[in-house]
Symmetry: D2
């Protein structure tokens, strides 16, 4: 197929239209009151190609809580800072267990399976606490730079709501600390984690921010590569095998693109060499991923024949 002639805008509109019956379906994340209030009728998509062309549909410019998508940003920062040392404290294998399981952690002596399960992201947060005096600000600055949007904020209400419900994450952090894999105070790690999960961004922001993953590490707004090609490849493969919680295999299989989801209903996906794109629909399926978002991405790749496979 000639990639130059693909009508991205038409594709987005068609996919949005065809998935309209799913509007309002699924349930918003209910363990965080501030998220539970969001209407499941929202839906938006945005795509940015490697030539800078921007395409969008629906609620593409409404900011929403990015939740676990933020784990890509913190991991990227940690990799920039520490390189492959990161892997001494967190693994790179897919997890056969639910995203917040303690079983795996116990079996593997406090080393989380990968940086996208909660335990792994908490370790990454701990790394950033060690590396920066003000890691919260560091993350926000980095994300604003990637998205070319200085108005991106952390939603304090969500962060607070999140912290109140954080007993499972507190358990994970204390548990890893008992194995010596958390250096900072548990309280600080949880704080940072709840804060970066509560960043609010739009589909357009996210598509822009993930651009370097479609461009071998290069991002228009950075002089130096955001990551080396080698680390970029690694980040994409990690999203491929572990980006959608316990539904990663199913998603790789249906959509065939590296991607990362969050319980706020967002999914960001990348076709290396071609584009980065984001979809948002707050209604979740039983595995915590956007019901309409997955369907839309599935159709997008099926109709267009675009896929890394």
């Amino acid at each position: 197929m000639n990639m130059d002639t693909i009508d991205y805008q038409g594709l987005l509109e068609r996919v949005c239209e065809e998935t309209r019956p799913l509007a309002g379906k699924g349930h918003a994340a209910d363990y965080i009151p501030a998220l539970a209030e969001i209407s499941t009728d929202h839906f938006g998509m945005a795509l940015i190609d490697t030539k800078g062309g921007l395409y969008s549909v629906g609620d593409a410019d409404i900011p929403f809580s990015i939740q676990s998508i933020s784990k890509v940003f913190t991991l990227t920062l940690a990799l920039r800072e520490l390189g492959n040392e990161v892997w001494s404290r967190v693994g790179r294998e897919p997890s056969g267990h639910p995203f917040n399981s303690l079983i795996q952690l116990e079996n593997e002596q406090g080393i989380p399976r990968n940086p996208f399960i909660n335990a792994g992201a908490l370790v990454v947060a701990d790394m950033l606490l060690e590396a920066h005096p003000d890691p919260r600000d560091k993350i926000l600055t980095f994300v604003r730079m990637l998205s070319a949007n200085n108005s991106i904020l952390i939603d304090e209400r969500v962060a607070l709501s999140e912290k109140r419900a954080a007993h499972r994450n507190a358990a994970l952090t204390h548990f890893m600390k008992s194995f010596g894999n958390i250096g900072g105070e548990v309280e600080d790690v949880l704080n940072l984690y709840c804060n970066h999960c509560s960043i609010a961004m739009s589909c357009i922001d996210l598509a822009r921010a993930f651009r370097f993953l479609a461009q071998k590490g290069i991002h228009q707004r950075f002089e130096e590569p955001v990551l080396t090609f080698s680390l970029t490849k690694r980040l994409n493969s990690l999203m491929m095998t572990s980006g959608l919680y316990n539904e990663s295999g199913e998603f790789a299989y249906r959509v065939g693109l590296p991607a990362k989801s969050g319980v706020g209903g967002g999914i960001v996906a990348v076709l290396p060499g071609h584009f980065s794109m984001a979809a948002w629909g707050p209604g979740l399926n039983e595995r915590g991923n956007s019901l309409r978002g997955i369907e839309a991405l599935d159709r997008f790749t099926t109709i267009s024949g675009l896929s890394i496979f």
Copy 2:
């Protein structure tokens, strides 16, 4: 990069040369006496591109025991026969456990995580037993057709050796039968499994046979597609997340190509749209994958910049 001008032959030779220090390193699979005898000095690679160009180096035409690589062939046959019904009896998610774990199976009531762990391949063998009067012959005929090589055989000595060591697989099969997920006789399932694992093929045979996975399901030797584009995409994504046992995440991360390995020391990898390739080195690392094979594929993609990411 202009893919048309890549010097595949030069790349293979360079990679073969650079990994020579690994010759003789690792250990051959020792649980099967017939495999343990193979010299770990062997090494070969073959690549076939979508235009039919064939490139090879070293022992590329010596047949070896393909072992778990055969699981791709049996799954393909089952998908041709049953389509998506296959997934009612076997999952599609990566397994966080070693390839022959019973824990996962117990937790998930006899449904294996995916068709590449042993339990999953045993269920697929059971499906073929139900679908064909002589499934052993069916598999062999299919593989010969894919490879354009009618001299491909099952190594009876390996198959016998394999059956004698098959207590773990017998346990898996009986266990799944206790959950109702095996319809045939345990003995027959094990027989078929040990037979298809004992097919002997060369790197050149394997590169040819996997060609349809690089070509959206199309294979030169078949009039109809071997699999639909949709199922091809799915098979590739399954290799991506689960093709190298407990090292799948690490491999995806280092090499960035869908691939499948076997304890005979073979690895077959695919770059969709471009080529299929096979490497063979019988010395294994501690996770049961070819030591030199992985290193060679890593260098191949790193030097060339070829990767799905």
Copy 3:
């Protein structure tokens, strides 16, 4: 309390009467057709004190399938033969998992937690196969001697029925063989196991047979002790911690006597220094133990104040 004046017969009758509302409740073991046919209306109890006084009520002389109760006999034989060497191949700790779990076995490298879970009893059967030319006959002779009843038989129909449903046990045996903890043929081990589980005995037979456990290892029909006091103590403590599958703690807590149950609906209990007793009611609770049998033993100890505690 003066143990000399306890009216055992009166107690049995009262308990039988009080538990009559449970007649017909529960379900007979349904995975073995030959057991599923037994009426859940049956109920009987028998008690033999250390002076030889025999007391009984209801269907105390109707033979039923002793099932897992037979594990006490095979373990006793193995201990007589091998002494403490037995413990190199099977553990002595309570199992936190269901009685036929493979998870524990995988975590502990093929060494079953204790001889009363299925895996442990299969290893004990393998020990007897190694120690005797005709272990099936050896067990039967031993049980007849203990019970002073030469008409005790193995119910061939049950044994056959059992073998047909033995996929879980076959899985356990193959699995342990893969770890090197089974020396004989899997087929032979399963055969012996299914045979000894299919011995048919009455409450009176069982009360007699367990007498040595109430008498520090001494049994009237044997010149030498059946077991040393030390091994007798150990067997009792094993019944105390692991005699009723996943309900052992609950039973120890309600009844406070070492005991062993079977899915045929039998339970044998011992008050060291005082008596051995058996109860039989084929209706099982959801953990596989006799519903009325447990209630009857609970009342028996509560009313009488008899308990090791």
Copy 4:
């Protein structure tokens, strides 16, 4: 045997003498600095029979950190307060996992297996927090009353040391709170737990305090029974199946008495109807139980033939 004529004092002295080669062996608990300092040369035993006769040997009147032995006191208080309601929040089955495992907790949705594993004791502490305005004082008063010793104190240094090392317990508590099985603040639960574990008592104090368990719930210092006979039986059976961490089965098997151990090196055991006794030796075996204490109790029951079996 005529229990009236047993020479308890002679037995204690003989056992103390025979186990002298174990003095200094094992290691003191090292995860709590304040415990690690204790000399492993200490050893003492005390026994009190149901007629009030007190016998002791060695360091029987030196107070030491009772640690997990305190779980018997808090459970007793909870049972006095809430009766069988206790069991809606904590189970009664032996745990096949190490004492501080999270795996079991995850599998069983936040309900600990029994009140003697850490998770269970933390839930019991939470119950006491709900039931009393000053539970720390309540526990101390209760223990002083049972031991007839008003000088019993909480070792604040140990409590503090303990809290600093409490990440595993914090993980357990947060985890259970995420399942809704902890009502109070995590901080308060951990505080109370670390405090009651840090009570310091001598062998004589402990033998006295456990007397009610040898006397069907009756204690000389209380007008009313401490517990009903039924609950006493239950507490004994719980100690029998779960009193010595992952060594409970082994201990039941060697010693044959209900008992509870602590990592301070203490073990308290009971022969219902006859006596309660305590042993103390700070050198631990690899399962966290007193090396010399277990050996001494083993010899004590073997020489005397005293055992519930």
